[in-house]
């Protein structure tokens, strides 16, 4: 049974304001391809003197005195177009009367001109820990939510610039170990008008070739064509890979 330390001093309030939004999360590695992969978001946003502290088990414990600690958010480091497929959480819920809430949220970035702020909880992403359950893991059901930098969050038919977070609302005397986000890369939908004359919209590789062109990896083979059936030389392969990965910048 673990009990949170009780930080003393009035500086806690100052720290609370500062620490909440700006901590980089643990970013587990990202892999490639369109199959499932896992992003592990650890809670050691060291030292997180406001949201909590890391105990000897490596979990983050809230600093609540007689009530749950303050909610906080951590960045969700996923690429544009990532599909979120499931969220799982590891927690140590120690109090029989309260539980922690975890969810993915989208925050609208408000432009000038009188726009209204808006925060959307991504549907199906919320997890509530079981009061008093101790160490346990929790998972949502299957999801299929595509993260976009610009999307209409508030339903006014206007795309909003968006930032995504993991939001944690701690319970009382509770620990959070990590949140695991299962996700996959996706190839973007193609434009209405084909870029290359020899790759029309009914070509089976239309979205893939458009995606390469839009990324600046290829400009085609000249004359407004892509030459999709031409064989690839090793030279061309080198150009594709070097451009795609932005090689090579080490010392």
């Amino acid at each position: 049974m673990r009990h949170p330390k009780r930080p003393s001093g009035s500086r806690i309030l100052v720290a609370t304001t500062l620490a909440i939004a700006f901590r980089a999360p643990f970013v587990a590695g990202q892999s490639y391809g369109t199959n499932d992969q896992t992003l592990t978001i650890g809670m050691a946003e060291a030292p997180l003197t406001s949201a909590g502290f890391i105990d000897t088990d490596g979990y983050l414990y809230d600093t609540g005195f007689d009530e749950p600690g303050p909610p906080f958010v951590v960045p969700l480091h996923l690429p544009d177009g990532a599909e979120v497929r499931q969220v799982c959480a590891y927690a140590n819920d120690l109090h029989a009367d309260t539980s922690a809430m975890l969810s993915l949220i989208a925050v609208k970035l408000v432009p000038g001109g009188g726009g209204d702020p808006y925060v959307l909880t991504i549907p199906g992403s919320a997890i509530q820990t079981t009061p008093g359950a101790g160490y346990s893991s929790y998972c949502t059901g299957s999801m299929a939510y595509t993260l976009r930098n610009a999307v209409d969050l508030d339903g006014d038919q206007v795309p909003d610039n968006t930032v995504y977070f993991l939001k944690v609302e701690p319970g009382y005397h509770g620990g959070i170990g990590a949140v695991l986000v299962t996700w996959g890369r996706q190839v973007s939908p193609p434009p209405d008008t084909p870029t290359f004359g020899d790759v029309p919209a009914n070509d089976v590789s239309f979205p893939h070739i458009e995606a390469l062109a839009a990324s600046g990896i290829t400009a085609g083979c000249g004359g407004g064509n892509y030459c999709p059936n031409a064989l690839l030389t090793r030279r061309q392969m080198a150009v594709y890979l070097a451009k795609a990965f932005g090689l090579h910048w080490t010392d």
Binding site: A15, F22, R23, A24, A28, G29, S31, Y32, G33, T34, N35, Q37, T38, T40, G42, A44, E45, A46, P47, S50, T56, G58, Y59, P79, G81, Y90, N92, Y135, S137, N149, A150, G177, A178, G184, Q186, V187, V199, S205, H208, E210, L212, S215, C221, Y226, P228, N229, A230, L231, L232, Q236, M237, Y240, L241, A244, F245, G246, L247, H248, T250, D251
Partner: protein, 250 residues
């Protein structure tokens, strides 16, 4: 700069800390050769304990006894090669150390918590060198998000961190950054080949299997990959766009 840096005013320290901590995850490059990840001192500043705030030299000055866990943004399967710790160790009786730790994520059912130090990853400052750095030898550890960290024979879900500790009296030692040398690896292949024409004896077996497991290719049909076939520009586009999840620009 020598000696303990002059403390700067609290609001300024806070501003430093906010700006730098988010930038602590250095970029990653591609390929399987060695590359370097630099984790700056931003995450080590301590907003509650004044002495830990980032100083004008860009270093954090944790007190003796302070422990910090910082994010380790490396991809699955990354091989840790070496860890170097940049410090400002300017007085006797103080030091700092850095290591990589694995925190076991405990499932239900009575499991026990565990924090394991990655073997050969611990490095400490050992003398009053002022500004300087210390490095481990070769670490040779593969980061896996599921691995048996408590030695009970059962794989555990794991989260990795860089752990930095200050030792000694209240007079703090400065920590500038931890620099990790690491490299990407292609995953080991399965025991059973996915494609009939790419057997385990094929020189590119592991590489072709990695592409299939990543969802980048499903072969050329009929349970085959056609490894000796030439590649069209169309096929190259499919490989690359699927691999990288292209292109979602606005």
């Amino acid at each position: 700069m020598s000696g303990r840096t002059v403390p700067i005013c609290w609001p300024l320290a806070a501003a430093f800390a906010m700006a730098l901590s988010a930038a602590s995850a250095a970029g990653q490059s591609y390929g399987t050769n060695d590359q370097v990840l630099t984790i700056g001192a931003g995450p080590l500043e301590d907003l509650e304990a004044y002495a830990g705030a980032l100083h004008p030299d860009g270093y954090a000055y944790p007190y003796g006894g302070d422990e910090f866990l910082a994010p380790l943004p490396l991809p699955e399967g990354a091989e840790l090669r070496q860890l170097c710790l940049y410090v400002n160790d300017h007085g006797s009786g103080m030091s700092a150390s850095a290591s990589i730790v694995a925190v076991k994520l405990v499932p239900g059912g009575g499991g026990n918590p565990q924090i394991a130090t990655v073997p050969n990853s611990l490095v400490s400052s050992t003398s009053d060198i002022g500004y300087g750095y210390y490095c481990t030898g070769d670490i040779g550890y593969n980061l896996r998000s599921v691995t048996d960290v408590d030695g009970d024979g059962t794989p555990d879900a794991v989260v990795f961190y860089v752990k930095v500790v200050g030792y000694g009296a209240a007079d703090p030692v400065g920590v500038g950054a931890v620099r990790l040398t690491w490299r990407r690896q292609v995953s080991p292949p399965p025991e059973t080949p996915t494609f009939g024409d790419v057997p385990a004896s094929d020189g590119a077996f592991a590489l072709v299997e990695a592409l299939a497991a990543s969802g980048i290719t499903s072969g050329c049909g009929g349970g085959l990959f056609c490894p000796g076939a030439t590649l069209t520009r169309r096929q190259m586009a499919v490989f690359l766009s699927k691999a990288l999840g292209l292109h979602w620009g606005n």
